[in-house]
Subunit: 190 residues, 4 copies
DNA sequence: AATGAATGAGGTTTCATTCAT
DNA sequence: TATGAATGAAACCTCATTCAT
């Protein structure tokens, strides 16, 4: 009988354990030894769960996107547009660290993966659609492009936080962005 | 004396030649052989001009920032706030490829370089201040933080373009951003 | 008591199950995982029956040699020299696949095992003598060296068949060899 | 200017230097570290000359076949069939070590390489034809299959010599084979 | 007896950098 | 200056073997 009861659960647990590593150094700079050390297992065990470093990274990216789904679902329901925008900003600030790292990993992933590969991989297409949908549902805007665009701008704010000592805090930046977005909506969406 | 100037010119020319490479694969994924091939010289010659891969990359980052100075200077003078914002958007669209790659390289650079190192290096502190100043001069806003924040959001749009096949073009996104910014300014900056 | 017999039987059954694997890829290229998969048991179970990959291989080599004993015994009795030679050829053709693989495994075994180790191991010395004896009994020649030599040449024909698409079939080659051997015997042994 | 003047010549020199290693342990058992040590160069330098271990081995196999071409050419001309057969035997004995190792390497190569790959590789098809042709030219027999078959049997004798302490020397075996072949030819080829 | 997850030494290969020419 | 062969540490990955269950 195997030692690990729920191997699938354990695999996900491992993905979470190496989230920081990839966020802090980037795919190419992280070594498999660093990863296995961060995971607290041997390199051999690592390759038991993940066929390669590339596959591990891809699964990490997918796993993160699921985490986000739950976070976004938690703030999806009800309220006016202004309220929903403020709720989004609030959640981002609450999970600042997670979202900053997530943004870094996505950027890294997109840079390191050929367009053709991303477009031909149904999983990543699905993830892309999932984010699009989450933003649409949350903001409930008439223009789906605007929903995506909001996420694009937020990504810019998140990327700005990388290892930087900012005098202008993330919370302040999100607050400013919220105001900007509401100003735009008041002028154009009503 | 002229010899030195030429050599310096040549060094800059070399930096420009490997701009694409770093933008497309990222610092850690690019090999020195790839670099020297892109430069059209031998690895030995490469090490004659640059002490290490790291130094080459740092000089590239610095060189790019100078290019940006010239681009921003070209649109700095005169006009109302709305006009200046629109001039900025126009220039970004005109040099889309350059600015996207530049954004990618900067993000890569920040991720790979320890905060302490950046903060202790006067060159990078200077570059940082330069961007801040360029945005301030261009937008001529009362709040310097807002100026920086505009650049932060633009960075988000630029990063979004990496190797992606977007149905929502860069020009359209910049246009939308311009409208958003103007809406905010009208409401808060008068 | 019967338990032990069964276990022994099972061990031999396992050896037969990985015969093809070693013949097709060679000792060093076959992994223990491939072996245990071919055996239809877990690696743990495999190590229960065989102390190591090396030991498994050695026991396989020994087991094969016993199979050959039975095959040779079946054609040992009676007839003229010519008849016995033809009977040998006939049997080789009948069991072509077995003998080709066996030859490959033996060659592999000899190459991977130090001379000193073979010479110091009574089992392998015994196997060697057994083949010598089988050929001597079968051909019933005055010269024991000639008997061994016949086997040497047959080995050459067997090795030639490895994974090759031959226009000159094994049966034809054995037939030609038979004629050659008889021609020699007619000239020198009578 | 490169250090090694004739890089091609040096590559061949390297191939000769690792001939023994492959002959003694077999492709899969030899490590690249062992190879580079035997070559007297670093692993990096080894990969400068050969794209992979597989490629190195393939080139070794090809290089050996060229050596054989020269050896066979040196004994190809003139004489009766009997004389030519005896000349062949003489040459094999003279270069015993070379031919034994060559036979081992070929056997190893054939075992480790998929049939499809060999058949689709024009170089190895050419090598195969070359050996066929060499034997045909040398023996000048009416039947080309017989020529190839002679080489097949010789291969058996060569394989027999691997690391074995034989009371029946290689020279004696070749002598016996020569007599056998002549007896056959006298009876069937006139 | 049996399982298969876990180990870690060691395999092949890469790559920043050096150095003889 | 310029070349590119050479280095060797370290990268990713494999595999014989062990061991908790």
């Amino acid at each position: 009988m195997p030692k690990i009861v729920d191997s699938e659960e354990y695999r996900k647990e491992l993905l979470h354990r190496c989230f920081n590593l990839f966020a802090e150094s980037g795919y190419a700079s992280v070594t498999t030894r660093q990863i296995s050390k961060a995971l607290g297992i041997s390199t051999g065990a690592m390759y038991h769960y993940f066929a390669s470093k590339q596959v591990l990274f891809e699964q990490l990216v997918e796993e993160i996107s699921w985490q986000d789904v739950y976070l976004f679902k938690s703030i999806a329901e009800g309220g006016t547009l202004t309220e929903r925008i403020e709720r989004l900003g609030c959640m981002l600030v609450q999970h600042e660290e997670h979202f900053v790292k997530q943004a870094v990993i996505w950027t890294d992933f997109y840079q390191h993966t050929a367009v053709t590969e991303i477009n031909s991989n149904p999983i990543f297409q699905q993830i892309d659609r999932r984010y699009q949908q989450m933003m649409e549902e949350l903001l409930n805007l008439s223009d789906p492009k605007l929903a995506r665009f909001v996420w694009t701008l937020i990504n810019g704010i998140l990327i700005e936080q990388i290892e930087r000592e900012n005098s202008f805090s993330f919370a302040q930046q999100i607050h400013l962005f919220t105001k900007m977005l509401i100003a735009y909506c008041e002028k154009y969406c009503i």
